[in-house]
């Protein structure tokens, strides 16, 4: 509870007296490039395989001859867009981006770089952290879109290569009963997850005290707490928005 309070205070301090919009914009772009470019590869690999595995497992379970093969394509689409792409991507990013943010900020804290900013009269929290949050909120949905696309592609490859269904059947499945709101829902989720991961990791990193050992600890805590927060938020979003 005390943690939650200081977390909220921390969030408040970010928007109070922030740097000039020009600097904020430039820093956000820098961070976005770092977070985005660095994560494309891992997100791509993970989502392709998730799509492939989903497809293979569904086709393994669908043994009833009355259900058309195209259902596999339909189910892969539903599962990846609604749940797997945003959530698994976010969990992967919690590991990658979250530990990176917490480790970076923690190191800056213990080597007095944060103090150096403060002495210059700069609001270190908003200078360092706000761009990371904005960049995450901006970049995560893009990564999730890539993940959706690649996991559906992964499903296609796995399905056709294993001979479970033909390409035509998969595509027919993909195109049946499409609900555009699902995409919106997934993107809203990814923004929520981005906010949670970046703020929790920043909070953990920014308030690191001690030495190198504690920086490692903060990173670990940042990842575990972010993952839990993502899963809880996932449930809440599903309840509220669906």
């Amino acid at each position: 509870m005390k943690n939650l309070g200081s977390y909220l205070l921390f969030l408040f301090s970010l928007v109070k007296r922030s740097e000039s919009p020009g600097i904020l914009f430039k820093r956000t772009i820098d961070e976005a490039v770092l977070i985005g470019i660095d994560s494309v590869f891992i997100v791509g690999v993970v989502s392709t395989f998730i799509g492939a595995v989903t497809c293979v497992q569904i086709s393994y379970n669908l043994t009833n001859a009355f259900i058309p093969n195209s259902t596999i394509g339909f189910m892969v689409r539903e599962m990846t867009i609604l749940e797997l792409a945003p959530t698994i991507t976010s969990i992967v990013l919690a590991g990658k981006v979250g530990s990176n943010i917490a480790g970076g900020l923690g190191t800056m804290r213990i080597t007095e770089q944060v103090d150096a900013l403060e002495v210059m009269g700069i609001n270190s929290a908003s200078y360092l952290v706000l761009p990371k949050i904005l960049a995450s909120v901006f970049v995560f949905p893009m990564l999730v879109v890539i993940a959706m696309f690649l996991s559906i592609l992964g499903g296609y490859l796995a399905g056709t290569l294993s001979g479970a269904l033909s390409g035509q059947e998969y595509i027919t499945g993909l195109r049946s009963e499409f609900i555009p709101y699902n995409i919106t829902f997934a993107l809203i989720k990814s923004v929520v997850f981005a906010f949670l991961i970046s703020t929790i990791s920043s909070y953990k990193g920014f308030f690191t005290t001690g030495g190198a050992l504690e920086v490692g600890e903060s990173s670990t805590k940042a990842v575990t707490n972010s993952v839990i927060a993502v899963l809880i938020a996932d449930y809440v979003c599903a309840q509220v928005l669906l």
Binding site: E19, I23, M108, T111, Q113, D115, E118, V119, M120, G121
Partner: protein
Amino acid sequence: MIEIHNIHKTFGDKKVLDGIDGVFESGKMNMLLGASGTGKSVLLKCIVGLVKPDLGSITYDGRIFTNNKLDIRQEIRRKIGMLFQGSALFDSMNVNENVEFPLTMLTDMNRTERKKRVEFCLQRVGLENAGNLMPSELSGGMKKRVGIARAIAPHCTYLFCDEPNSGLDPLTAITIDELIKEITEEYDITTIVVTHDMNSVLEYGDNVMFLYKGKKLWEGHSSGIMDTRVKELNDFIFSNRLMRDAKKIEQIEENEQRDEDIRNGEV
């Protein structure tokens, strides 16, 4: 001018600062002297507001700093240049960018002016060729010098240096001391230097404070420091081998003189 009054600071149950008073005048080399762990860095951090003192007040040219509104503290801080004990360079930026950073953030110089100022400051600390190196590629002493260049880059009004010449060779150490003294006098800024180095204290200390276990035991011009009767300060000074040798030679000479006087008296 910076005035501090009755500064107390305790970490847990460890009393680090125990009622420190002091006046640091502008244009002078104010030096904080003391053994390792006596709270010099903590005092400096209290003065710039990175550590909140439990008790006491700090004023910058008559403006109250402690517990004042954040805006006012920020405004004062924008006039502070500080060298940290561990240099605290931004490790995602190269040397040029480190020195340029406060110029970008705190001044309205344009790009060419900034470049020129960076070049000038790096040259002053003897690092004109290191501009493109990253902090991880620098030696400890080079980091110190970049830290000083960054601190002095935006014409500060207050300059704080935590051990500017520890880890430097004697020659570079003198250059750095000279540099700090020069800009202090030239721009009439208020400078506080934390040091262990008796050489720089004796050479440059206009106002020396000796801290011992969180208390100020001695204060005065460096010329008077050798005659002090404060035992802890004496121990501190003469723990330095060269100083001890100098003292020994002095004593030997004194003894010889006395012997001679006695002999002369006898004759």
